[in-house]
Subunit: 379 residues, 2 copies
């Protein structure tokens, strides 16, 4: 039998067969009436998933491209912008904001910290824009976003949030929490292939747009197109149609149910990891529902371990990024994941560590995960 | 029977079933070894199709996004840049170059003109970059690119060419003609779905990069990633894999054979259109092998005519853009097209015009196309 493959990374994530089926359909024209119906539905569903009454822009780009649209539209060179980072993606946004010539204040917390409002407050005075990370995919930390956004908002800043790996997995109330711009991507908890960036834009953000050069990522150009269901540039139509189906599945499950499922997936994964006697690098709390980051046991060659899992068992996990490279490995559990994906990942980790000669507690992880997840009891 | 659908627009274009099948496969991780093999092959095949020894960058974006990368990387505000336009896309590039603060000299020829070296020469002095359009998809004009590029090169300029709808359909010798940057997209003659932009970058272009703000579209960042087969941002993996298959098909046919096929497709389409007594708006010569643009007969409501073709016959053509909106309709024939697509398009046009009450020569178009194409004779 050809090897079965398991994609357990925090993006790209497994795509449901119903969504893949749409990817394989003949390409349609982006100005034809059929596509316009699906485009309209996709944009409406995105508003629901983002919990915003404002416009949601769909860009053919990765999450970084979508994030750049926020920086390109909001930056006036020399104006103060605050970036709070505690991992790889926060650092990327600081580099991006600097590239656009903002007067960057970079609050660089240790990797793995969860930012608190008090980390921001001393630096908010005069900041036009505050860039926050909701889910720092490199560490597994999900920030308590509501008070962070409130602190930035109170100081009069435009609030931009990287929710690339959290949207659809973790509660995020764009309008209710006063967030001006939420940035996400198609290939994480939204269960679609990579290729589309997502950006919510509040009227305040739109009113604050600056003078930095931009064309493809210009918000108004895309807004004007979307208002007529006529994208200004040829979109990745196959992925838009696929995302529309995936969003329908998410809304059928219900956002609250999806959030609760992710909490239980995270719990199961952490309990399994701990049962093996391994140490978590991501927080051991219910908010950390996106990715479980595990400290590599002493002496483990993480790269070789991950290649072995992939080649021998068909299980794709991912290592650390930046300063955590070689020191951790990560198990993603956002989107199209159920308990059995977690037990598969844990069983593979256990087998791979044993194969690598690491002494761990054997035979405990899967049981601990099953118990923590709490499958529904038979009627 | 559900209606069969025919996509006869100059992008997106019909995608072969072998390529669609790859789109429907499970998503793979962009840093996994399987994907790296396909990514490497795709980049190598792109070099072959672009006929360049230099790097070809693959960006998750539309053709406009890829074009913007050229402008963002090459523009120094205030430096002279020359754009030659004679249609919608040329005008778009002028707007884009202006958005980046270049000292724009816009040689705006009448729509439908083919630019000549003498149109450029008076404006070349001091121009850092010259932006040319190879195939102006809005009019159907394909420029005689070699002497245009030579004139710009002779004046010491960096030469950037929009080959979005010509690459793979019409001869384009990136290195031999001294073109520094060729911009294209996945969804035209390359027979893949929309979502990827393609940019060739010569050492001279790389040495001429300027100070405009950019991150996602920064050439060096993508080059560094590609050198390790490690894209800096999550690419649209499904489309990269699909494009790789499509490029393999193109190279199996052979580029020269593909160019010759497109010449014959264009001939067949033009002879069919003329046999109906209709007037061409695109040139009646073999270079116009990308799209055939037809003047709307007097009194024809082009929008209603195209909707009728689409709804009643399943045939999707497209109208005019910009100043040619309402005045023309266009039949694309790049990529996965054979003679029978042309005869289908012509038969549908004939039927639709008759239904719209236009007096045309009936029963002649398909025969004229068959004759012009010259099918192989039986052995």
């Amino acid at each position: 039998m050809p090897q079965k493959r398991y994609l357990f990374t925090p993006g790209p994530t497994p795509v449901p067969p119903q969504v893949l089926a749409v990817m394989g359909e003949p390409v349609v024209h982006h100005r034809g009436p059929d596509f316009k119906l699906e485009y309209e539905q996709c944009l409406a569903r995105l508003k629901e998933v983002c919990r915003t009454e404002h416009d949601v822009l769909l860009l053919t780009a990765s999450g970084t491209g979508a994030f750049e649209s926020a920086v390109a539209n909001l930056t006036v060179p020399g104006e103060k912008a605050l970036v709070v980072s505690s991992g790889n993606f926060g650092e990327r946004w600081a580099a991006l904001v600097a590239a656009y010539g903002a007067d960057l204040v970079h609050v660089r917390l240790p990797w793995g910290d969860a930012p608190e409002p008090d980390d921001l407050r001393p630096h908010l005075d005069g900041a036009k824009v505050v860039y926050l990370v909701h889910s720092e995919t490199s560490t597994g930390v999900v920030a308590d976003l509501e008070p962070l956004a409130a602190a930035a908002k109170e100081a009069g800043a435009i609030v931009v949030v990287d929710a690339v790996s959290s949207l659809g997995a973790v509660q995020l109330e764009t309008d209710a929490w006063g967030i001006d711009v939420v940035v996400s991507g198609s290939q994480k908890a939204l269960m679609a292939p990579p290729g589309l960036g997502i950006v919510t834009v509040s009227p305040a953000a739109l009113a604050a747009t600056g003078s930095s050069p931009r064309f493809y990522f210009d918000w108004r150009r895309t807004l004007e197109g979307q208002a007529k269901l006529d994208a200004p540039f040829t979109p990745a139509v196959s992925i838009v149609r696929a995302l529309n189906v995936a969003l329908g599945m998410i809304l059928d499950e219900g956002l609250e149910a999806a959030f609760a499922r992710h909490v239980r997936l995270g719990r199961a994964c952490r309990q399994g990891i701990k049962a093996m006697g391994l140490e978590l690098a991501s927080p051991d709390d219910d908010r950390a529902a996106v990715v479980t980051t595990v400290r590599a046991p002493e002496g483990l060659d993480v790269k070789a371990f991950l290649l072995d899992l992939r080649d021998r068992l068909g299980v794709q996990l991912i290592g650390g990024q930046g300063e955590w490279s070689g020191a951790v490995f990560r198990i993603g559990h956002i989107g199209y994941f159920d308990l059995f994906d977690i037990t598969t990942a844990l069983a593979a980790v256990e087998d791979g560590l044993v194969a690598a000669g690491v002494e761990i507690e054997r035979g405990a992880a899967v049981t601990a995960a099953l118990r923590a997840f709490e499958l529904p009891t038979p009627a």
